[in-house]
Amino acid sequence: MAGADITAGVKGQGSADRRLRPYLGFIWPALVVCSAVIIFPWLFTVWMSFNDWHIGSARAWVGIENYSKLATDRRFLESIGHTIYFTVLAVFLPLVLGTFAATVFHKKFRGRGFFRTLFIMPMMATPVAVSLVWTMMFHPQLGVLNYLLSLVGLPPSLWVFAPATVIPSLALVEVWLWTPFVMIIVLGGLASLPTEPYEAALIDGASQWQMFWKITYPLVLPFIVVAAIIRTIDALKAFETIWVISNGGPGTASETLNVYLYAQAFAYNQVGTASAVVVVFFAIIVVLSLVLLWARQKAQWS
């Protein structure tokens, strides 16, 4: 992504300006709209986070009070824990499954295009509609998932209706939705690999397993890291699945930062507090993305 390119862009500032000038006419209309719908909200949010504003009453400047309150707000701190737990599951599992799927769909076999189309359907499906279907499947008495568990001799689960299982269950939906995305990115990486190392390894009598770990894995690692970055950003931001299926419940057991934010902003109308949550949330996303970008640089150098 742009990580490596940003540093390259900073170096030749003067020549970059000269290069940019004739093309400004192409860019400024998009830039104006971008500022209106993206940059204006950023600035507004930062400013609002230093104010106490309950929609319908007067606004007052309170400095960092919103932040200091958050630092001791148990519900907020717990929501950070829920977000991290959910994100770890919703990033790691799609990466493993998606990479495996990519190695399978990279092989040539009859019907590959057709099966691949079927496989990418989940990531194109409307998440709200998908969540609706999963809500019905999770039903503890009549849901089809508990029936499937009983077929293989496992005891029924309470799925999203118990605090202990709700986050893994929600992550399962996320895995279902976004494994195809990881598959596509890694598939793009596999397509760009050279064939010579494999031919050499075949002659040396290497097994499939050895070839994957010794050749494929190191070569596609940069692509896996890209998928990991995008997946981490999206998993941190996940909202619709959680909101529709568990609504942050039972109690606040699956309340992630995003759900907490929604409640503050649109249920309690605490715009000041919500804005402070946004700033903290955004900081977490940026820091994690930078860490992963740094990991990508390392993956490319080694």
Binding site: F26, F115, V128, I233
Partner: protein, 280 residues
């Protein structure tokens, strides 16, 4: 009699093939089961939908659930709202994003590309608070236009990002030749680069259409009774009819039908476009 090397190779290939198809089946089973179950629920009466053990194949398929969805709620209005919101957000994003992608790619303005990446990192909800306040001040709540405008947050970065990737792969020489022949920078863009970038434009338009169509949160906050988009309408059905599984499944199908159809039609381009857009 020991098998010849040739037969041994054939057996080996047979086992490899069987393992491959087994892996494909294992990967596809959960993916397809959810869709199968959705279709199954939508075609059965509620007595079958709440039966134990579950009825998998409908014994007497019925379209009553679909009829119910269209009778109980103004689905055509919601469909039209979604078309207006997604259509205008995609169209404007194309008009602004394609030239912007060209400019950024040609000028190698990576700082601007980084702004796009940051906008992708920002949680959608965080745009909503300030924009909600703004639209309320401007008295725009209650029409579809605030929703369409906020959908630009999704569509503009997607289109621009994909177009940057596309224009960067186009050879410079053709435009340079056009410039030497006296074409302006805009003519070179319009007559040379644009026709070559048609595949990228198609992918950008369709992906931004799909992600805008699927978006729930902006509509959920800004929509009133008559301005709901399809995903919001379906979510509302869940809160009012949480035990009418047949109609809920039918509604889920109605919402995702347009995007599923688009996915099937251009699946190859989607795979290429996403791989290029994500990896670059």
């Amino acid at each position: 009699m020991t098998p010849t090397p040739a037969t041994r190779r054939r057996i080996r290939r047979g086992i490899d093939n069987a393992a491959l198809y087994f892996a494909v089946a294992v990967l596809l089973a959960p993916c397809l089961f959810v869709f199968f179950w959705m279709i199954s629920l939508s075609l059965k009466y509620d007595i079958d939908n709440t039966a134990w053990p579950p009825v998998f194949i409908p014994t007497e398929p019925t379209f009553d659930n679909f009829v119910h969805v269209f009778q109980e709620s103004p689905m055509f209005l919601y469909f039209w709202n979604s078309v207006q919101v997604t259509g205008s957000a995609t169209l404007v994003a194309m008009l602004l994003g394609v030239p912007a992608g060209y400019g950024i790619a040609k000028a190698r303005a990576h700082g601007l590309a980084a702004v796009l990446l940051l906008s992708r990192m920002t949680p959608g909800l965080s745009y909503l608070i300030p924009l909600f306040a703004l639209f309320q001040m401007m008295g725009m709540i209650g029409t579809v236009w605030p929703i369409a405008l906020t959908h630009m947050v999704i569509t503009l970065p997607i289109v621009t990002w994909i177009m940057i990737g596309f224009f960067e792969t186009l050879p410079q020489e053709l435009e340079e030749a056009a410039r030497i022949d006296g074409a302006t920078i805009w003519q070179a863009f319009y007559y040379v680069a644009l026709p070559l970038a048609r595949p990228g434009i198609v992918v950008g338009a369709i992906l931004s259409f799909i992600y805008s169509w699927n978006n729930f949160i902006f509509g959920a906050v800004f929509a009133g009774r008559t301005t709901r988009t399809m995903p919001v309408a379906v979510y509302n059905m869940l809160t009012f009819e949480s035990f009418a599984w047949g109609p809920l499944a039918a509604a889920a199908i109605v919402v995702m039908l347009p995007v599923m159809a688009l996915t099937i039609v251009i699946q190859r381009e989607i795979v290429q476009g996403l791989a290029a857009g994500g990896v670059k």
